[in-house]
C-alpha cells in the first residue's frame, strides 16, 4: 500500500484549490495539490467576463463599495445566502484582486478622458477621471448597481489562473496531475485525506493529511447540455456525500446562463450584454424591456433565463433543427470593441458556428452553467459535521450565492474563499495532528480496490456511458429552468432506478491501468447520487427562489422556506438521500428579506422580517454618528482572519 503524508491536501487545481494551497504553503505547511489535469487547464480558465470587486475606479463604478456589492449579492441570492459569508466576501474581494494584480494579472486599466460605450442600445460618451488613469477598470454585468466586474478582455479566468498557478510554481507547490480522489478517508467524524487513483497506472494511493480541501468545481455535467468543462462532474462533492458524515447544501440550486451557443452549449460571456449586446427574438424584436423594464438584458441571470424561456414558449423563438433559440446581437458594439474585449467570443463563433459576430447574430439559449450547491461548510470553509474537511469555490456551499449567483462573483469567490479558507486550513494544520492508524487507511484503500476489481471481473451488466446519458437527459428534461411536481417526481423515481442499475456496471475494456471506461464506471454511480440530491431537493422545496423556479409554487415563501437544504447519504444501500433543513436566522440579517425588483413581488413573508426591519431601523436611528464600518459591525459582526480586516482604499474617498 502506497501512503503519502502531508499537512494540507488539496483536491482540485483550479483557482480556489491553488489559492488555498498557496495560503497553507506560505504559512509553512507541507502542501500537495491533486488534479485530474495540468492545473492551468482547470475550468477556472473558461471564466470569460470578469471578477467582481468594488474598486470603484471607473466612472460608472463611482460610489461603489463593499456595501453596494453586498446588497447586490444578497438580492441576487434571493435572500438565500449566508449574509455573514457574503460580508466576508465583499470586504475581501478588493484585496484579492489587488493581490492578483501584484501577482501578474494584466487587468484592463482605466484610460482617462472620453470613450464611447453602448448603454441600453445607444451610443453614449462617458468621461473617465484623470485621477483614475491606470487603475483597474470594470465593465457592467447583470444584477449589479455599479460597473464592478474587473476583466482582461474576455479571458479573465485564463489570466487569473495563469497568475495563480505561476505563483504556486514559484512557491514550489507540487501538483500531482492525473490523479483522481475516489473516496475520503475518515474516522470518528474527522477527515484524514483520500484514496486516490492514478489515472495513468491505475495505482491506488492513500494521501493522508491533517486538512483536506475539496475544490473540484461544480456538477454541471449532471446535465446533458452545460457550459461546463467535461471534467465538471461533481466527483469531489460526491466523495464528501459518500462519507455519510459530511453534508451537502442547497443541491437543487442550479443556475442556467442565458447565453450559451446552440447546440453545443459553449458560453458566450455575460460581458456581451454588459458591454451593450441585446437579446432579440425571431422577429428581430428586443423583448427583454417588455418583461423587465428596469434592468432589461442585465437583470439577474436566473431572471433573464426564465424570461427567454417564457418568450420562446410564446412561439417567439427562432426554430432550428436543434430546437428553438434566440439571438444575441453584439453587432452594435463594433469590430474594434469585439476584437479587443470579446475576442474569445468571436473565436468561438467563428470556429463552432462559422459566423462573424461583428456582422451576424449569435444563436443562444439558456444552458446549465453553475452549481450554487455543494459541500456545506461553515464560514471558515470547514464541514460542520466532518472535521478537517474543507471546501472552497464552486464545490462548496460556503453559501455566498444562495439560490442565484451573480455573474462575476464566481471567480471572485474562488480567490476570496481561497484566501480566507486557506488561512483557516493553515490554522487547522497548526492545531491538529494525524492520529489515524494504518489499519484504518488500509480498510479504505481495500474497499476501493474491491469495488474496482468487481468492475473488472463482472462479465455482464450495465454500460456506464449509457447510464450517464440517461441521467443527463432526465436532469435536462425534468430538473431544468422551470420545474414542477409531476416532472420532479418522475425524475426522482427514474433516478432511483438508475442508481440500482449503476450497481451492476460491467466493462468491455477490463484493464486496471489507464482506462477511460473504468474512469466512467467509477464516476457514474457517484454522479447519479448527486443527481438524486438535486432532483429530490428540488421536489421537496415547494417554493420558487432564485434559480429554483417551481411552476406549481411560483411564490418565494420565506415563511416556510427561508432555510438551507442539507443532504446526506448515510446508508450506502439506500436509494434516496436524507434531506434536512437549517433555518436562516432573519433576526441576524444585515439586510432583512425584501423584493429583488423583478416581475411581481409575490413573496410570502417570514414572521420575523418586519421585526428585524424595525430593529435595523432602530439600530440606525440610535447610532446616528456611526460610519458605514461601525454600522456594519452593529448589524452584522463577522469574524475574518486578522490580515484581511483592513479597510479598502478607493480614489476620491480614501478609506472612507
Amino acid at each position: 500500500m502506497k501512503v503519502i503524508y502531508t499537512d494540507s491536501l488539496i483536491i482540485g487545481g483550479g483557482l480556489a484549490g491553488l489559492r488555498v494551497a498557496i495560503a497553507s504553503m506560505q504559512r509553512g505547511f507541507d502542501t500537495i495539490v491533486l488534479s485530474l489535469i495540468p492545473a492551468k487547464r482547470s475550468h477556472s480558465a473558461a471564466a470569460q467576463g470578469g471578477m467582481q470587486a468594488s474598486l470603484g475606479a471607473c466612472i460608472k463604478g463611482d460610489g461603489d463599495d463593499e456595501d453596494v456589492h453586498f446588497a447586490d449579492t444578497v438580492k441576487g441570492s434571493d435572500w438565500g445566502c449566508d449574509q455573514d459569508v457574503a460580508r466576508m466576501f465583499v470586504n475581501t474581494a478588493p484585496k484579492a484582486i489587488r493581490q492578483l494584480s501584484a501577482w501578474g494579472v494584466p487587468w484592463s486599466r482605466v484610460r482617462k478622458g472620453d470613450r464611447d460605450v453602448i448603454i441600453n442600445g445607444k451610443k453614449v460618451t462617458i468621461t473617465e477621471k484623470d485621477e483614475a488613469h491606470g487603475l483597474i477598470s470594470a465593465r457592467d454585468f447583470g444584477g449589479t448597481k455599479k460597473w464592478r466586474t474587473c476583466f482582461t478582455s474576455d479571458g479573465t479566468g485564463h489570466t487569473m489562473l495563469y497568475a495563480m498557478d505561476n505563483k504556486a510554481i514559484q512557491l514550489g507547490i507540487p501538483v500531482h496531475e492525473r490523479k483522481e480522489a475516489i473516496a475520503l478517508i475518515h474516522e470518528d467524524g474527522v477527515c484524514y485525506g483520500a484514496v486516490v487513483r492514478d489515472l495513468v497506472t491505475g495505482e491506488l494511493i492513500a494521501y493522508i493529511a491533517k486538512a483536506t480541501t475539496i475544490a473540484t468545481g461544480g456538477y454541471g455535467r449532471l446535465y446533458s447540455v452545460s457550459t461546463n468543462a467535461v471534467i465538471s462532474e461533481g466527483i469531489g462533492t460526491a466523495i464528501a456525500l459518500e462519507t455519510g458524515v459530511a453534508t451537502l447544501g442547497n443541491m437543487e440550486a442550479v443556475q442556467f446562463h442565458p447565453t450559451a451557443i446552440v447546440p453545443v452549449g459553449i458560453l458566450t460571456t455575460e460581458g456581451c450584454r454588459g458591454d451593450g449586446g441585446l437579446l432579440l427574438d425571431k422577429d428581430g424584436y428586443r423583448f427583454m424591456p417588455d418583461y423587465e423594464p428596469e434592468k432589461k438584458e442585465l437583470a439577474s441571470r436566473d431572471v433573464v433565463s426564465r424570461r427567454m424561456t417564457e418568450h420562446m414558449r410564446k412561439g417567439k423563438g427562432v426554430e432550428s433543427r436543434y430546437g428553438d433559440h434566440l439571438w444575441l446581437d453584439i453587432t452594435l458594439l463594433g469590430r474594434e470593441h469585439i476584437e479587443k474585449n470579446l475576442r474569445e467570443v468571436k473565436e468561438i463563433c467563428e470556429y463552432f458556428l462559422g459566423i462573424d459576430p461583428v456582422k451576424e447574430y449569435i444563436p443562444v439559449r439558456p444552458t446549465q452553467h453553475y452549481s450554487m450547491g455543494g459541500i456545506r461548510t461553515n464560514a471558515t470553509g470547514e464541514s460542520p459535521t466532518l472535521k478537517g474537511l474543507f471546501s472552497a469555490g464552486e464545490a462548496a456551499c460556503w453559501d455566498m450565492h444562495g439560490f442565484n449567483r451573480l455573474g462575476g462573483n464566481s471567480v471572485a469567490e474562488t480567490v476570496v474563499a481561497g484566501m480566507i479558507v486557506g488561512e483557516y486550513v493553515a490554522d487547522y494544520c497548526a492545531g491538529n495532528t494525524i492520529s489515524i492508524g494504518t489499519s484504518t487507511i488500509e480498510h479504505f484503500v481495500r474497499t476501493e480496490e474491491k469495488k474496482i476489481s468487481d468492475l473488472l471481473t463482472r462479465t455482464y451488466g450495465e454500460n456506464p456511458f449509457e447510464l450517464k446519458k440517461e441521467m443527463q437527459e432526465i436532469m435536462m428534461d425534468k430538473v431544468g429552468i422551470f420545474r414542477n411536481g409531476p416532472d420532479l417526481e418522475q425524475a426522482v423515481e427514474e433516478l432511483k432506478v438508475l442508481n440500482q442499475r449503476a450497481r451492476k456496471i460491467a466493462l468491455r475494456n477490463r484493464i486496471s491501468s489507464s482506462n477511460p471506461e473504468l474512469v466512467e464506471a467509477i464516476r457514474v454511480p457517484k454522479m447519479i447520487k448527486m443527481a438524486q440530491c438535486v432532483a429530490y431537493g428540488a421536489l421537496l422545496r415547494t417554493e420558487s427562489r432564485g434559480a429554483h423556479a417551481r411552476e406549481d409554487y411560483p411564490e418565494r415563501n420565506d415563511r416556510d422556506w427561508l432555510k438551507r437544504t442539507l443532504t446526506t447519504w448515510k446508508d450506502e444501500q439506500a436509494d434516496l438521500p436524507e434531506v434536512t433543513y437549517e433555518d436562516l436566522d432573519v433576526m441576524k440579517m444585515e439586510m432583512p428579506p425584501g423584493s429583488r425588483g423583478y416581475g411581481v413581488d409575490n413573496t410570502v413573508h417570514h414572521p420575523d422580517t418586519a421585526k428585524r426591519e424595525q430593529e435595523v431601523e432602530e439600530i440606525k436611528a440610535n447610532n446616528p454618528g456611526a460610519d458605514r464600518y461601525e454600522m456594519q459591525e452593529l448589524l452584522n459582526p463577522i469574524n475574518i482572519p486578522e490580515k484581511f480586516k483592513g479597510k479598502n482604499e478607493r480614489i476620491g474617498r480614501g478609506f472612507k
Binding site: 495540468p38 487547464r41 501584484a102 486599466r109 498557478d165
Partner: protein
Amino acid sequence: MSEQERILKFQIFRYNPQRKGDKPRMVTYEVTEAPGMTIFIALNDIREKQDPSLQFDFVCRAGICGSCAMVVNGRPDLACRTLTSKFEDGEIKLLPLPGFELIGDLSVNTGNFFRAMSERIESWIHDQYADEVNYDQLEERMDPDVADEIYELERCVECGACISACATKRMRDDFLGAAGFMRLARFAIDPRDKRSDEEFYDVIGDDDGVFGCMTLLGCEDYCPKDLPHQTQIAYLRKKMAMVR
C-alpha cells in the same frame, strides 16, 4: 437545408504503453457525421459506441484550455474546435502530439513539460518587495496600453502545438520553444517584473534559448491562438544581442 449523411473515416494512432506487449498501430473507425460535428464529438462517439479504451484529452471543449492539441491530417491543432465538415474527403488521420511523453493513444503529457518550462524561465513576477504590498491600498497603476500588450502575449494556452511544430526542438531536446519565449516576452514587457535584461539573458541567451531558433517558424504557422511568435522571437533576439 439538404443534408447528405456522410460516413467519416478516422484513422487513429493506438498504443497503450501501460499494456504489456502492446504495439503502436493505426486503427480505422467509421462514424456517421452529424451537423456541426467536431473531432471532440466524433472521438467521444467512437469511445462510447465502438472502443471504450480509446484515450484522448479534452477539458473545456471550447478552444480555451489547450488540452486537446493533436496532429490532425498532418497539422497540429486543437481537436475540440475542428469541425469534421472541413475535411472534404471525410478522411481524418489523428496522431498524438510529437515532442511530448505519450500517455496512450492521443493523450500526451503536456503537464510535466510546461511545469518544467515555467520553472526554467521562472514564469512569475520577480519583485523583492512583492510580499510587502499592502492590498488595502490602491493598486500600482499601469498604463492601459501596457496592460493590453501583456494580455496579448498572455493568451498562450500551453497546448503544445508550437513545440510539436518546431524543427529546432526536434534537434535539440532542451530547446525552450516558442511557448517559452512567448511567456518570457510577456514578463519582459511587464513593468511589475523587475528582472533585468542580463537576468533574462541567463535564461535564454544560448543555443537552447532564443539564439538556437532556426526561424523555420512552425510555431507561427500552427499557433491556434495566432500569437505573434515571429515578432516576439525577433524582439527577444534583438534585446538579448544588445546585452553582451
